[in-house]
Amino acid sequence: MTGVTDIRAQIDALPGLDPRAPLLHVEDLHVEFRTRDGVAKAVNGASFHLSAGETLAILGESGCGKSVTAQAVMGILDTPPAHITNGTVRYRGVDLLGLSEQERRKVRANRIAMIFQDALSALNPVYTVGFQLGELFRKHRGLSRKDAKRRAVESLDQVRIPAAGQRINDYPHQFSGGMRQRVMIAMALALDPEVLIADEPTTALDVTVQAQIMRLLAELQRQRTMGLILITHDMGVVADVADRVSVMYAGKVVEEAPVYDIYGRPAHPYTQALLASIPRLDLKGRPLNVIRGLPPALTDIPSGCAFHPRCGYAREICRQEQPPAYRIAPHRESRCHFIREVLGV
């Protein structure tokens, strides 16, 4: 059992670690991809924080930088082409970006874990699920083969896979889509992380299975008072599970607010337009509200406020100046020059 104390102690001994500091604090994160065809600015100043037991949803459309942000926090971006050009990612006060790769790996497995949209490609197809789970316990917890297997069964049990004792001998492709997602959740949670980042965890699944998985995630989170970052484009899922929401557009968090405020009184034109574009019963027989134009190419982000070419509130200043983050209320920020108009005050 020496492995256990070792790795945990090593993490606790990281310079600057303060158990009272915020669980996760990302500030002014910039990531760009340098390719032959130019520089794509995927993340342009993302800031957010997460406390224990809280669910933060990062909401945005494809290409808004939400997945890249998550990968930067996890430290799984490939450099090159990706380069983190600015910003900090602090876990309990430790700047993760300043750690060595080895130290990061320890934090990654034991404190911050991640699940992906495509469970099939995230699991190794040539090993049984039991072996892959057991390996985690052997490597990081120094358990014996037998104990590791017992823990593997427990893990599958916890994500409510029926007949876990037998199913640990199955290969990933033998599981259905929903069950595979459960396996991936089991693997991510095996080492009791404090933060779980879920990147579009249910996008590939059917609605009935999606409901099962989201319910499971919420329950596991409650049991463990774990911080959950849910990355998604689905406004229904966000409304169902999130405590707070960060809305991203063109690599920036344009609005951050508690979930009730986001849906009740959005403070950024983009959030407002996104919500308005959801098909509603009272719009039946009439055209849907749309956001005109296209999301910008990351190689060519508009000047000033990136949303201005598509925004109904836009004026000259929006073309020229990037709006700062205006604080509307505690825990509520919006990057728009015309917040008052947007809020109608």
Binding site: A211, Q212, H233, P279, P287
Partner: protein
Amino acid sequence: MSDASDLVLETRNLVKHFPITQGVVFKSKVGAVRAVDGVDLQLRRGETLGIVGESGCGKSTLAKLLVSLEKPTSGEVIVRGENMARLSGQSLRRARRNIQMVLQDPYTSLNPRMTVGDIIGEPFAVHPDAVPRAGRARAVQELLDLVGLNPDHVNRYPHQFSGGQRQRIGIARALALRPEIIVCDEPVSALDVSIQGQVINLLESLQHELGLSYIFIAHDLSVVRHISDRVAVMYLGKIVESGYHLAIYEQPTHPYTQALLSAVPVPDPRLRGRRDLIELEGDVPSPADPPSGCRFRTRCWKAQPYCADHEPLLQIRQRSPHPSACHYAEIRDVIRY
């Protein structure tokens, strides 16, 4: 209600079984995937019929059967009084002009090596009598204009367009032969929310302008509700419930429809925890070996021994004012959003 002369498309007991074979040279049939297993549909002029269901329910195979991309194992697809399933060669080619399809993935449905002009003009090349040669370039530009793209972009390649624009190109291609019916197979599910609305609005305005009838297949229930006049719910190759959109969404009587609707997350945090979420157990059974009797009974909370022996027909029942394939059909108020 409209009379029978308004009927533009009808299917009768449509069946598609894909054989499961063994062996390479000498294949022997060892079973069949019952992808579509007895579907009756009716589509009227100017109407949109939505078809919803989860992956593996057979809705995409149904779409392919409707546009004759697959030959049915048995049953009929009747367009303008002609059974498409029986046609071949020249007569099939002519009949295809009445029914076209918009495909799901705007990235794979356009040939990357052809210009947009060639893609939209291909129907004219295949049917030279549709538009005289001299008028084709103009016809292509008019189509581009009709779907809201710049007519000067005929010489561009698909990869120079965004996903939403590509889907417009696909719609223009489907419109080229002036069909009466368009089958839309998940036309917006690959698009971002902000772009989905643009394409849905385009489809609706084209319908009004050109008098089109749509079969709209999707898994997104709120999009289907928005665009459809009537809705059919599919499960394991069969339609389990059908009716006017309000009947399906407000007064579902089949347990599967109820579970499906209850699982859709509602974009309103105030309803959190107050919704009546019906959580289904287990997975969809394999269509190669569907359960006896009612196919939903293995996951149904209402199932009785009777369900295993007697297959419920899709019909109006005592407690279901619209057709429902459940012995114990009963209205249940699931959600309102």
